[in-house]
Amino acid sequence: MGPRFLLLLSIAAVSLVSFLFTGHPQASWPLGQMDDYLLNILILAGINVILAVSLNIVNGHTGQFSLGHAGFMAVGAYGSATLTQINSKACLASLAFLGNAAPLGLFVLSLLAGGVLAALAGLAVGLPSLRLKGDYLAIVTLGFGEIIRVMIQNTEALGGARGLAGIPSQTSLGWTWGVSLLSIYCVGSLVNSTYGRGFLAVRDDEIAAEAMGVNTTRYKVTAFVVGAFFAGLAGALYAHFIGYITPEGFSFLKSVDVVVMVILGGMGSTAGVTVAAIALTFLNEALREAEQYRMVAFALLLIILMITRPQGLLGGLGRWLPGKGGKS
């Protein structure tokens, strides 16, 4: 059994379980009844894994630098909440043929809607940004993220600056980890496929890649769209986990959080990034007492890491996925 098969199997298992237990966030197989606090952290960790892995396809594998990931997450969160909270009655009515499963169907539909909307936003951001490289791209994506936030803030139908409350909490542990395993699988297979070599080529030497006939524009857009799609899914899951979303929650600092995960994990290493996302989620909780010092420490860590070990703390740890190491 190859690792990829194992991964597929676990996705199948987790999705089956999540299907059985949706609507009962407390019933959290495989750990039985566990205390809510740990459960919440595990769900957050799963959401962070999706965010980090999806940002990694842009920042790590393709070598572009996006600072607007929170914007896509916001699109996913608000997009899905539009179905399940704002227009819930109409949506539920049109899904009445599902009987008791209507809320679940709506949830799945809203996840997909969040992902697709975010992917469209990714396309809209990706196309004009492609003329830019490096620092410029970073600032433009940051700008797009801020524009998305300002737009939500000024849209009364979405709750404006007050935020949107009363989103049904349907995200369970199974759903979160099902989607995050799916994202790991998709990103891993995409990058390791023949097609996916193009991403690495764009990262390693854009000019050479272009000269060899790689359509660099198309690869960059693809990376953006795929990354945004999963960020949208993460946002949708987050909205249905926390139940209350505000535009402030998707600010530039949220994007930086994800970037820190990707950098610590090692850009381009799916496994490293996954580990970093989980570790940082737990670390954040452990350091909640020392909240004030936490970000100072992270900032210092980022600077020291860049000077001494730019491939990331866990870079080069990704060899368990066939043919894919850390950034060479």
């Binding site: 490096g134 700008g143 801020e146 524009i147 000024n154 100072v296 992270f298 900032a299 980022l302």
Partner: protein, 307 residues
């Protein structure tokens, strides 16, 4: 018409602040080819150092005329930030000089976060009031135009600073070295330019201008907090791109244009149909438009990447 002129005055004084910050971005980009993400936070430190220095100085300066007090605070804050800028460059950016630009960019983000959160620790998260350095009075001009004396002082002092900068860059030996370095680093080094000194000087100069901008900004808007540098920093970056990154006149013009456009959009929000809440998005929309239609900016030169 009157209202338009009124908005223009407000916009220009805001634009002057953007221009001062934008110059720092542009100068650093000129010599090091990288965007100093932490520049907006140096601006924030400038405001706080102005506040603390002003408070400390107040008892000694009771007998001083107001303009002297204000200029000493301004110069003190500029000096402090110049040193800060040089230290940041030495500790964080210098070890990375030959590394990929992305590494330097991430480090700059790290420095930016460090300044923000260390600022939160030291200064507290709540907004603080900036002491008024000059008693604010309202000046009425022709046709009922109103401007505060602070707005006019900001415009005048900014022009003086820009003139000083122009003289330094165009007439001094260090300025000549700066220009040489931005033209061709290798050749400059071969001709005996001490690049380390020039880079430090550039950081110091840029940070001092940001501090001046911060003292003006704080005098105009009065409240300061550890995250105040984020948005003006990004907007000033947009101003630098608008003028063409690397071009000093470009940064000045870009800053003024941005300040005026932003103020006008808010002032005429009903007429334009744009809610005033979109104020902060204006700069980014401008940024995206420039990068789409004229990526080199108003005064910049197009550069083609070569192998």
């Amino acid at each position: 018409m009157n209202e338009f002129l009124q908005q223009l005055i407000n916009g220009l004084s805001l634009g002057a602040v953007y221009a001062l910050i934008a110059l720092g971005y542009t100068m650093v980009y000129g010599v090091l080819r990288f965007i100093n993400f932490a520049h907006g936070d140096v601006f924030m430190v400038g405001a706080f150092s102005g506040m603390y220095f002003g408070r400390w100085l107040k008892p000694f300066a009771a007998a001083w005329p107001e303009w002297l007090f204000a200029s000493v605070v301004l110069l003190g804050s500029m000096l402090f930030c110049a040193v800060l800028g040089i230290v940041i460059e030495r500790l964080a950016y210098k070890p990375l000089r030959e590394r990929p630009r992305l590494t330097v960019l991430i480090t700059a983000i790290g420095v930016s976060l460090l300044l923000e959160y260390a600022g939160q620790l030291v200064f507290g998260a709540a907004p603080r009031g900036f002491p008024s350095l000059i008693t604010s009075t309202s000046i009425s001009g022709l046709g009922g135009l109103q401007a505060s004396n602070i707005q006019l002082i900001v415009l005048v002092v900014t022009s003086l600073l820009l003139l000083g900068l122009h003289l330094i860059v165009m007439r001094s030996r260090l300025g000549l070295a700066m220009r040489a370095l931005s033209l061709n680093p290798t050749a400059a080094r071969l001709m005996g330019v001490n690049t380390n000194v020039v880079i430090s000087f550039t950081f110091g100069l840029g940070s001092a201008l940001a501090a001046a901008g911060a003292v003006f900004y704080a005098s105009l808007y009065q409240a300061i907090d550890p995250f105040m540098g984020v948005l003006p920093g990004m907007k000033a970056f947009v101003a630098a791109v608008l003028g063409g990154v690397g071009s000093l006149p470009g940064a000045m013009v870009g800053g003024l244009i941005l300040g005026v456009v932003e103020t006008l959009v808010v002032g005429y929000s009903k007429l334009l149909g744009i809610p005033p809440g979109y104020r902060d998005a204006v700069a980014f929309v401008i940024l995206i438009l420039i990068l789409l239609f004229k990526p080199s900016g108003l005064f910049g030169k197009t550069q083609r990447e070569k192998v």
